[in-house]
């Protein structure tokens, strides 16, 4: 039964880091676009 928690935590690790990365990337793109518009 405890095995399933391992799978869940692995999933959490992957999706958390993936979405974190994607989110950070997206924010950076938005920020840069704004800076370019302001100039």
């Amino acid at each position: 039964m405890s095995d399933i928690y391992v799978v869940l935590s692995v999933n959490l690790l992957i999706w958390f880091s993936l979405f974190g990365y994607l989110f950070a990337l997206d924010r950076k793109v938005q920020k840069l676009k704004k800076m370019l518009e302001n100039d």
Partner: protein, 229 residues
């Protein structure tokens, strides 16, 4: 908004994959519930290897065409490659700990992913040791190509030397895949999903880098304009 619809589709697709991995698929006998890790761990390794291929191709393109944008593709592919290699190593290690107890065994798959990690690390070490952009691009392109041509040897050698602890009787991702129909469906769906995620991230990163450069050039222009006045 219509342009972004594929992002929502991707989200739904991966949602279905995750649901399928947890409920739709059966488990393999020897592995129990931990079988399900396979639908997430293997795609990470796959993407890590794909990044390597993309970086090598970008390297070749840079050497041929001498356009620094190819170096951007190579560097960012390598970034992502490193990211997914670390993910694959950690998830693989957790999986190994649960099944065979030691965190690390130096079996062929683990060894291969570790070598990939070393190659990426070496790539970035080289880049940080060279100041000038053109030189940096040129030398790192040569290195990643050189590293890539050693891959066939590694694929051939690594399994020979050590006995594999990877669950070959059940899952053998290199040769025949002894998974039943349901497992295969979810597996390939996950692989496809991860691949799309990878290319999305890569494109985002390259776009970011290009935007940054645009910004830099504008700042530089402004500086020089002001000085003239």
């Amino acid at each position: 908004m219509l342009r972004n619809i594929w992002k929502f589709l991707l989200l739904i697709w991966m949602g279905v994959v995750i649901w399928g991995a947890f409920t739709y698929t059966p488990t393999a006998k020897a592995l129990g519930e931990t079988t399900r890790i396979l639908y997430f761990h293997v795609p990470c390794s796959w993407v890590a290897t794909l990044s390597f291929l993309i970086a090598a191709i970008s390297g070749i393109l840079y050497l041929v065409k001498n356009d620094l944008k190819y170096d951007l593709w190579a560097e960012n592919a390598a970034h992502l490659g490193l990211f997914f290699t670390v993910l694959a190593t950690i998830t693989g290690s957790i999986w190994a700990k649960v099944i065979w107890h030691p965190f690390w065994n130096w079996d062929p798959r683990e060894t291969s992913i570790f070598i990939l990690l070393l190659i990426y690390a070496a790539y970035f070490a080289l880049r940080s040791a060279v100041e000038e952009d053109e030189q940096k691009a040129r030398l790192s392109a040569v290195y990643v190509i050189l590293a890539f041509i050693t891959v066939p040897f590694l694929v051939f050698i690594v399994p020979r030397i050590y006995d594999s602890l990877h669950p070959d009787p059940v899952i053998n991702a290199q040769g025949k895949i002894k998974m039943n129909g349901k497992m295969l469906q979810v597996f390939f769906a996950s692989m496809a999903g991860f691949t799309v995620i990878f290319f999305w991230m890569l494109r985002l990163k390259v776009q970011t880098a290009l935007l940054e450069r645009k910004l830099q050039m504008r700042k530089f222009k402004k500086l020089t304009e002001n000085r003239d006045v």
